[in-house]
């Protein structure tokens, strides 16, 4: 199906309601995450042994954990990790994957073969495993996790960039540009990139959801930010011994994580509806 848009910009249409709501919620979460340490009612790291394992109350809306630390404060203080992981990792996968994919599309032949075989290889390992392996080799920490998750998703970005580029390369206006004698990089900048960004943006937005998921899964397994950091996946992992006695310790970060993921997902879907409804059937993990 060739794109009806061609070289023209997509027709103006009303922003879908879901997109607006999603953006607002994500914005609020981002704001809370940025302000976290300042608006938290208590010090997220402060022990208070007399107040340990208390259920939610006015003083502690999310209850307290095994050290008496206020769970709400910890959730607020830890919000930025998830956002950083989602956006940071996706940015990395974009920064590495898109140029690789475009390279493969432009220079068919052995360059493409090498790149695509490498992609096949990395795609063959399930993401959790790949992340585990990458992180097992080095000392854990926030930036290493972001890097690992970013690397895991490079192949998908590469594939997508290549596919989009190939489709566009087959278009008339590109043929015309070639006929005019324009060089490869010129075509790339002038003709391909402006038309490639809708599907790329959509995929990026969807990818952020998965990056947050993978990042928190790796933190859950102990490979992300270290204690006493209150990264949400780590908080859930640490709540396991107390699940029957004090479920709020794990439920609070877990539900916040779900909220974040749902809204990011909604934004992604909204963007897709806005920019490129053709892709409705194709979003996948």
């Amino acid at each position: 199906m060739s794109g009806a848009a061609g070289a023209a910009t997509p027709a103006r249409r009303r922003l879908p309601r879901t997109l607006v709501i999603g953006l607002v919620v994500v914005g609020v979460i981002a704001l809370l995450a940025a302000l976290g340490p300042w608006i938290a009612p208590h010090d997220p790291d402060a022990f208070a042994m007399r107040m340990r394992l208390r259920p939610p109350s006015l003083a502690h809306p999310f209850g307290t954990d095994e050290f008496g630390r206020d769970v709400l404060s910890r959730v607020l203080a830890g919000a930025h990790y998830s956002l950083l992981m989602g956006f940071g990792a996706t940015a990395i996968s974009l920064a590495i994957g898109v140029p690789l994919g475009l390279l493969a599309a432009l220079h068919r032949g052995w360059v493409e073969e090498v790149v695509m075989r490498g992609v096949d290889l990395m795609i063959s390992l399930p993401p959790v495993l790949l992340g585990l392996l990458i992180l097992a080799v080095t000392e854990p920490g926030l930036f290493k996790t972001i890097l690992a998750v970013g690397l895991v998703y490079v192949p998908i970005m590469t594939r997508l960039a290549r596919a989009v580029a190939l489709e566009l390369l087959a278009e008339d206006f590109v043929e015309a540009a070639r006929a005019r004698g324009e060089g490869a990089w010129h075509i790339l900048a002038r003709e391909i990139m402006p038309n490639a960004w809708p599907p790329l943006i959509v995929e990026t937005a969807l990818r952020i959801t998965f990056a947050i998921l993978l990042g928190s899964a790796l933190s859950f397994l102990g490979l992300g930010p270290q204690p006493p950091a209150s990264e949400w996946g780590l908080m859930i992992a640490e709540s396991r011994p107390f699940i029957a006695e004090a479920p709020w310790i794990g439920l609070a970060p877990g539900l916040c994580l779900c909220l974040l993921l749902i809204t990011v997902n909604v934004v992604g879907e909204g963007l897709r509806d806005l920019l490129d409804p053709r892709l409705r059937g194709r979003g996948h993990g």
Partner: protein, 319 residues
């Protein structure tokens, strides 16, 4: 068709071989020491040295790789370093149990997901459709590890309904016992995927319903149900099949966490044990098996897709 098949098989073989090298390299880069793991708190420097020599860990890496790889070709996964028994049977038995979990899950995902998607599409805009859409948004975004905790909390701790222990062989508990222990892990695995598949099926079903072929068929005066079944459905199922294959990868990832939490003795748990204890043959064997399953699933999906969609066979454009 034959050419396509051969190319894909060749690619598969390459990937599998490259995977053995990659896995071997990474595993041997891991800075741990299996000798220390085995000796635990009794590890003294000399005990570690003796054990490492005994386990052949001091030979040059290419020698160790060849030893392992040639064994692999013959079906021998080597000897588990920490458990003093051949790694092969441990891995394959664990694989069998995981396969049960995965198999039941995939069947449920396919059947329930597709039916829900079709129903949603055909009855677009109805209350059920809207409820399903909402549910789908929710289920897709819940992390696997959180699901497990929720499920344990809800069913095992609060309601005390279902046994929380993971596995009963049919011999011990009968088929009902066996099935009961599968309910929790399977439910946790499938919820997200059912949401995913049903959404996808719904979208492609909608597209198909509104497509030219269907309009033409309707114009011919064919009954609605026939139109749907003969013309809309096959086109709708195409993307779903591809996605199911990709979902196997997600399933495998979910299985690692689910098996740990529900104490289900499958490949995921075995792998976690192997990584924690630096049992190299188990680690490498387990990862190769998982990769092979994943790669084969992708290959099957690719082939199926190509068979069902003639347009792909010729060119090989989009990834």
């Amino acid at each position: 068709m034959a050419g396509f098949l051969l190319r894909r098989l060749g690619s598969l073989a390459f990937v599998l071989w490259a995977m053995t090298v990659l896995v071997f390299a990474i595993v041997h880069l891991l800075p741990g020491s299996v000798a220390h793991m085995i000796l635990g708190e009794y590890a003294t420097n000399e005990a570690i040295a003796v054990l490492e020599a005994k386990l052949g860990l001091n030979d040059p890496l290419p020698v160790q790789y060849w030893r392992w790889f040639s064994g692999l070709l013959g079906g021998d996964f080597g000897q588990s370093l920490t458990m003093e028994r051949p790694a092969g049977p441990v891995i394959l038995e664990a694989l069998g149990r995981s396969a049960v979990l995965a198999g039941v899950s995939i069947v449920l995902v396919a059947v329930i997901g597709v039916s829900l998607g079709i129903h949603s599409a055909v009855h677009k805009g109805s209350a059920t459709d809207r409820a399903l859409t909402l549910g789908q948004y929710f289920f897709i975004a819940v992390p696997e590890f959180f699901w497990c905790i929720l499920v344990i909390l809800f069913f095992a701790v609060w309601l005390g309904w279902l046994p929380a222990t993971g596995y009963t062989p049919i011999a011990d508990g009968g088929v009902t016992g066996w099935a009961k222990h599968l309910v929790l892990p399977v439910s946790t695995l499938v919820l997200g995927l059912i949401a995913h598949v049903s959404r996808l099926t719904r979208s492609s079903m909608l597209e198909a319903i509104e497509s030219r072929y269907v309009l033409a068929a309707r114009a011919k005066g064919l009954p609605e149900r026939l139109v749907l079944r003969r013309h809309a459905l096959p086109n709708a199922l195409l993307p779903t099949i591809t996605v199911l294959a990709v979902d196997i990868g997600i399933l495998i990832g979910g299985i690692v966490v689910v098996e740990s939490v529900f104490a289900y003795p499958g490949l995921g748990r075995m792998l976690v044990y192997a990584i924690d204890n630096q049992d190299l043959p188990l680690m490498m064997g387990g990862m190769i098996v998982i990769t092979a399953v994943y790669a084969l699933a992708n290959l099957a999906a690719d082939i199926l897709y190509a068979v069902l969609n003639p347009r792909i066979r010729v060119g090989g454009t989009a990834a």
